[in-house]
Subunit: 327 residues, 2 copies
């Protein structure tokens, strides 16, 4: 099975993390999808034991590369165009999130997928992270009863970011970029699509990062009446021990489960205790690669990818306009 890659602006590392575990996939072609130099991707490929053909033009690669899948990680504002182009040629897409920076582009990808035999997965890698993956299995197995309330936190270090982070048109906003993980947890742990959102955001004190929002808050009601909050920020001090402080707290009718610092804490009828985190059952790229190669389900569906993207964009709209958005 032949994989092509376009770009390495975001989480393309997911591919290299598990391509060795996926049956018969080889990285056969790559492009940067823009003016980025090819050396970085070339180096990553070589390190993983691949010598892919380089294409200056990503369209040529998709048209002539005879690919069984493409991983899209080019400029954020081109995700939708690249994904739609691939889907129109029935090439499955492993796509950096968010897959579109506006609703019109999302509709374009959805339309392409509707007429395609191929599926698309956005890189919600943190749902696959060991503690979150096991926590989700526990909640789905009913360990805390009926889910009622969710709080999700993404807190990142800002550092000094490339110029494209400083412009809404090329970055997309902090809710879609950082918040997508929190919203994916909310969707997964609630077991529901979204019904409404209100949100706030603030770009002051962003150390010269232009449009970039330093902190965002979202409040959701899900279709199944689960209530959810997301707290998203770039305020994590540079001397904090890790880049991110990822958390989720899920309260149900029979218990409260938390993921914090990679650990799972559970309170239920038996009291409070830590749950050991087993090695992850699935990794995001190999899970999708297997679903493509064997025609089986992936842990995250195409429908969830679309729903998550829409939620990110409507939450951003709510914050931009100070209004409640209904789905």
């Amino acid at each position: 099975m032949k994989l092509g890659i376009i770009g390495s602006r975001g989480h393309i590392g997911y591919v290299f993390e598990s391509i060795g575990e996926a049956d018969d996939w080889e990285l056969s072609a790559f492009s940067t999808g823009c003016d980025d130099a090819p050396e970085q991707l070339e180096g990553m490929a070589k390190k993983a034991g691949f010598s892919p053909e380089y294409f200056a033009d990503w369209r040529t690669m998709l048209e002539q590369g005879k690919l069984d899948m493409v991983a899209v990680d080019g400029p954020f504002d081109l995700h939708a165009q690249m994904a739609a182009f691939a889907l129109e040629r029935n090439i499955p897409v492993f796509c950096e999130k968010p897959i579109a920076l506006n609703l019109a582009d999302l509709e374009r990808v959805k339309a392409a997928q509707r007429h395609s035999t191929a599926k698309i997965l956005s890189m919600v890698g943190l749902r696959y992270e060991g503690a979150f993956q096991h926590a989700l299995n526990l909640v789905r197995a009913g360990k805390i009863g009926k889910v009622k309330q969710i709080f999700a936190q993404k807190s990142y270090k800002l550092g000094d970011r490339p110029d494209f982070y400083r412009h809404r048109a090329t970055f997309g906003g902090t809710i879609p970029w950082v918040g997508s993980h929190a919203l994916d947890w909310i969707m997964a742990f609630s077991g529901s699509s979204f019904a409404s959102v209100y949100a706030t955001q603030n770009r002051e004190d962003n150390h010269g990062h232009g449009d970039l929002e330093m902190s965002c808050h979202c409040i959701f009601t899900m279709r199944n009446q689960v209530q959810a909050l997301a707290s998203i920020d770039y305020l994590r001090p540079m001397n904090a021990p890790t880049h991110g402080d990822d958390r989720v707290r899920v309260a149900g009718t029979a218990g409260v489960l938390e993921v914090r610092s990679g650990r799972i804490l559970l309170i239920d009828a038996e009291g409070e205790r830590e749950i050991a985190v087993p090695p992850p059952e699935r990794k995001i790229f190999s899970d999708f690669a297997r679903s493509v190669a064997e025609g089986v389900d992936c842990w995250v569906s195409t429908e969830e990818t679309f729903e998550l993207t829409r939620a990110c964009l409507l939450a951003r709209d709510a914050a931009d306009n100070g209004t409640i958005c209904r789905f």
Copy 2:
């Protein structure tokens, strides 16, 4: 200095916790303010070394008791009436929160206070709790720079509650009753009054508790642009180690501070560490009692008491009506 008490439905324990440390205060009179039997309050008074005069009628007590302060902890729906009656007679009021269950009643108390020489404090005892008190001192001293974002959590066990909790008219709602603490932290840590709120609430799965909401979420923007979230619930399992899981996380331009499980965790330029919690400098009742006796400021002002009550009621309105409320 003579103190009277009306009722023991809520946190009247704050009085007995520190009346011994307040200069020259004696509990000289009490009433239950309703059909509640007087034995409970009588027992608490005796245990603290007082033999207060019992009044069947709280109005008579306020008119004839020559009181220097009254602690109001009768039926929730009578807080406002009792507080206004006392203020109209220039008697300072240490009042269970929320001091009013609707905006009209709040206006009545405010009007009474405007024409009074007396002040009113609502029992936001958790602001005085050791870890929160010290954390607030640290934040006010600038340890995390400019405050940007706050998350406050109140999670309680439900148990089996008296009948008055089951009716909105006599309980007031979970946002005002439980959430008032979270909103007080938000007001205190942000150093600002409130600008807008949206909120959600859910009363399903409340184990026969009628109107009582099991979970609530609020999203605030403060006048100084600080963003804040409150997560409020009665979902804490009965076998959890403590009744409440009180938390606040405050993210600023120079650090992130958290209070959790009575501990303070700080991340700043020096990295991540726990801050030792010193014994509280102030206790809520003795702080107010001293401010009344000596004419000095209390840590929480009358204006903050009014602002907090209004915020609770507008957040509840937002949740009731599904609308954004502007202050």
